[in-house]
């Protein structure tokens, strides 16, 4: 079981590229038709230098370009079948657009047992910077590990 010793643990930074084709595939999947996301001219008219990423896409970029997706699960010896996503947050400081390269630096910031140890909540906070060193976002996720009841 994951314990307090995991707090402060850092994982391998991930550098990801905002590629137009992959982003288009994401928009197709969600049925996105907003011109700011589908038309570069509309994005420019809205003040972006290129098509921006949608609100949750930083989460995807980190997974897509990671050489070891779910590294924190394997590093903490957590079974992928026992995790649920508890909470997710994004704080945006600057735009991220097609053509950008962003780097994710994740670390564990808290570990909390719930229901007498039946569940463990793990918070991973990730700072995101771009190719110019600008701090563009902070992302946080809370993972729920079901310690006991999977059978």
């Amino acid at each position: 079981m994951v314990d307090q010793s995991a707090v402060g643990r850092r994982f391998t930074p991930v550098t990801a590229h905002v590629e137009p084709g992959r982003l288009r595939y994401f928009f197709e999947t969600l049925g996105e038709s907003n011109p700011v996301y589908r038309d570069a001219a509309a994005a420019k008219a809205a003040g972006f230098t290129a098509i921006p990423i949608p609100p949750t896409y930083l989460f995807c970029l980190e997974l897509m370009d990671s050489e070891t997706p779910f590294e924190f699960l394997t590093a903490l010896d957590i079974d992928l079948g026992k995790v649920l996503h508890g909470e997710q947050s994004f704080a945006y400081h600057a735009p991220v657009v097609v053509g950008d390269t962003v780097t994710f630096s994740p670390r564990v910031t808290s570990v909390t047992d719930k229901k007498g140890g039946a569940m463990t909540l793990i918070v991973v906070e990730t700072e995101v910077t771009n190719q110019n060193g600008v701090h563009v976002a902070d992302v946080a996720r809370t993972i729920v590990v079901r310690n006991g009841a999977s059978s």
């Binding site: 999947t29 949608p54 980190e62 649920l84």
Partner: protein, 135 residues
């Protein structure tokens, strides 16, 4: 955008989405980079104690984000957070809603806190969250 000043209680976000299919989950698996088999492989889901595959929480949050950016220019969103209240099952038809919960000012910028929910066709809350937007 709006001619009148924004006020607490104003419902500004409302969007309904088509039922989530196995195909949607397969596409989202590839599109998101989240290859956790629990969302696409029924054998894995059953071995993990679930009756069937179920939606990625981030797909549901993606829909909520889309509903939000339909109403608010993407460049005005300062933060966006959700709690995943319940597993979203196959076939779920989601409705995303949001209203102004608070008007505030941060660093000289006028902002609003939008309270957000995503519910399925039975009215069960799947996501509850909020966004801070610049006015």
């Amino acid at each position: 955008m709006s001619k009148t000043a924004p006020a607490v209680g104003d419902r500004i976000v409302h969007k309904e989405f088509p039922a989530i299919t196995r195909h949607t989950l397969a596409l989202y698996c590839g599109a998101s980079g989240d290859h956790n088999p629990i969302h696409v492989d029924i054998d894995f889901a059953k071995a993990s104690g679930f009756p069937d595959v179920f939606s990625h929480g981030m797909l549901v949050m993606g829909y909520l984000g889309q509903a939000l950016t339909d109403a608010v220019a993407p460049g005005k969103i300062r933060s966006f957070s959700t709690r995943f209240a319940a597993i979203t099952q196959l076939g779920a038809q989601l409705t995303c809603e949001g209203h102004i919960a608070e008007l505030l000012e941060t660093g000289g910028e006028r902002r609003a806190r939008i309270a957000l929910t995503t519910k399925d066709q039975h009215g069960e809350t799947k996501l509850a969250g909020e966004a801070i937007i610049a006015l």
